[in-house]
């Protein structure tokens, strides 16, 4: 019998119980782990492998080489980044003032405004995209109104192109920016602003030197979520872009649906995944993971 055993007679038993507890808790997460492994890790891993298989069935970088050399692919990358960056910037420009406005209201009014953000959030993406198609088309509400008011004489083309895609995507992405940003702004202690003001700062200066820096984590979280979601976007550009705006996800889909070329689709998918992964990795260093997952 060791001294430890004499002093704490139940030590080993307690350790056993604690180990069993840990095992139970881990066991409870197993079905989830199994689902994710079977339905994401293995299939995506398989695609990863496929992307390195050439046409003759041997290991090669053929798919990636072809992608880097092809003008069509370069254009798709550029379009994807252009649309994603523009959407993110517009969302920030619109969403920041709105989130700020809501954070200054009383809880009751802020909750009422929140409904305005949540309704589109939970309305089917397809419904919202369709609604924009109806509004923006040549004989749509917007063109008709502009003609009646005498702003334009001929209907202008605002859908089936980049403009239409951007309008639709900003509308869909805005809640993803506002939700984390608003949560962050709500948590900012208003006394800090009072303090700045009582020390003689003008309202503008108090905002830029105190409030804005404190709201940056929320803004960053929102920007990254929007950007990452935009990179993989499919439905809205497919409908509102009218075939003129081809983003990475659409190319992946057509590679499979039309050409059955799994290698090319996988290679493009891997690039998309790696870019997304890098951004999310940077994000996790900057803001906590919980915030990112909080939709």
């Amino acid at each position: 019998m060791t001294i430890a055993e004499i002093e704490k007679p139940n030590e080993r038993g307690l350790q056993q119980v604690a180990a069993n507890e840990r095992l139970t808790f881990f066991g409870l997460t197993l079905p989830y782990l199994l689902m994710v492994t079977a339905l994401i890790v293995i299939p995506v891993g398989w695609l990863f492998y496929l992307s390195f298989i050439g046409r003759d069935g041997s290991l090669s970088f053929e798919n990636y080489e072809r992608m880097m050399k092809s003008k069509a692919y370069i254009r798709i990358f550029l379009t994807t980044f252009k649309i994603s960056i523009l959407t993110t910037i517009i969302c920030a420009a619109i969403g920041y003032p709105l989130a700020y406005f809501m954070s200054q209201l009383s809880r009751k009014w802020a909750n009422i405004c929140m409904i305005g953000v949540l309704i589109p959030f939970w309305t089917s993406l397809l419904v919202r995209t369709y609604a924009w198609l109806v509004l923006l088309q040549k004989k749509g509400l917007l063109n008709n109104m502009a003609i009646e008011m005498g702003l334009i004489s001929e209907p202008i083309k605002i859908v089936h192109n980049t403009t239409g895609t951007l309008i639709g995507m900003v509308h869909i992405m805005l809640p993803f920016l506002i939700l984390p940003l608003y949560a962050n702004m709500r948590a900012i202690d208003k006394d800090t602003l009072k303090a700045a003001s009582s020390l003689g700062a003008t309202p503008t200066r108090a905002f830029w030197t105190v409030f804005f820096p404190l709201s940056l984590p929320g803004l960053l979280a929102g920007l990254l979520i929007v950007f990452v979601l935009c990179l993989g976007f499919y439905v809205t550009p497919a409908i509102l872009g009218g075939g003129r705006v081809i983003m990475a996800a659409m190319k992946i889909s057509s590679n499979i649906e039309l050409y059955f070329s799994w290698g090319a689709a996988s290679a493009l998918g891997v690039v998309l995944l790696v870019v997304t992964g890098i951004i999310l990795f940077i994000a996790s260093k900057l803001v906590s993971m919980d915030q990112l997952g909080n939709r």
Partner: protein, 281 residues
């Protein structure tokens, strides 16, 4: 107009200085809500073309949705797709909610190192571009002949719904004092009984909201359905997407109206549940 001189912030900004922000914000809120609602009047239009406002009213697009039978196969494709969507969404609740809740319970109680490793893996379905998940599932399901099956759709939709369940139940359990279960167990209850009789009643509203969100996620899902569904088992969103790519069929306005009613109804229920749970604290 003395109200314009009212202070609206901690830094003595008066309302008139900030009028632009009020106008801008209400305009954006208007633009967030109203465009989706345009489908409602469109759905009651008598015209084949999408004219706004409609000149004549009718229910023909609703009739088309509910009662149109395609001559060649004797089916109403829209209704069939709706039933598939409903079936899949309800089954998704029963797969995603228990699995997500169990995992949340396990994660809350386990040490933080395990949680740090597992959490990013668990929310990966939200992080990996959904198109990649969809073609991966398609490739995977082809091997098991699950393409075009209800099981395949339920598995795919559960995958995207599980992280939402996990996050909702996880945050509910974080605010819950686990010692209550310890008390019950020290009085002789088994772990399962302690969970069922002590913990579950206190987090049940979160679990109900989580399951409603799982339902909505499945019902609205498009990309996975696009690849995994097929044959007789198309989902409503998949049929809508395919129809939208080809032409603007006003039947879609009627279906959209119904979808708006369903999702705002569920949203109201979820908000009411949330209020109930908040009041309890």
């Amino acid at each position: 107009m003395s109200f314009l001189n009212k202070n609206v912030s901690e830094t003595q900004i008066r309302l008139k200085d900030r009028l632009w922000l009020y106008i801008f914000s209400y305009l954006i809120l208007f633009l967030l809500i109203v465009p989706s609602l345009v489908v409602i009047p469109m759905s009651f239009s008598a015209s084949q073309y999408l004219e706004f406002p409609p000149k004549e009213w009718s229910l023909r697009w609703y009739e088309n949705y509910f009662f149109a039978w395609k001559v060649e196969n004797g089916f109403n494709d829209w209704m069939q797709a709706t039933w598939t969507s409903l079936k899949v969404a309800i089954l998704t609740i029963f797969v995603a909610t228990p699995i997500g809740t169990m995992a949340a319970y396990g994660l809350v109680n386990s040490n933080s190192r395990l949680g740090k490793i597992l959490f990013p893996i668990f929310i990966s379905p939200m992080m990996v571009p959904i198109i990649l998940v969809a073609i991966g599932l398609f490739y995977f399901f082809v091997q098991f002949k699950l393409v075009g099956s209800i099981i395949g759709l339920v598995l795919g939709h559960s995958l995207v719904a599980m992280p939402l369940v996990l996050i909702i139940v996880f945050s509910a359990l974080k605010n819950y004092d686990m010692n209550q279960e310890k008390v019950a167990r020290s009085l002789g209850a088994t772990r399962f009984r302690a969970f069922r009789e002590i913990t579950l009643p206190q987090i049940k509203f979160s679990i109900i909201s989580a399951s409603l969100i799982a339902f909505l996620t499945s019902f609205d899902e498009i990309i996975i359905s696009l690849f995994v569904a097929g044959g007789d088992n198309s989902t409503i969103t998949r049929s809508m997407f395919l129809a939208l790519r080809d032409q603007i069929d006003p039947t879609i306005a009627a279906i959209s109206t119904i979808l708006i009613v369903i999702s705002s109804g569920l949203l109201i229920i979820i908000q009411l549940i949330g209020n109930k749970e908040n009041k309890k604290d």
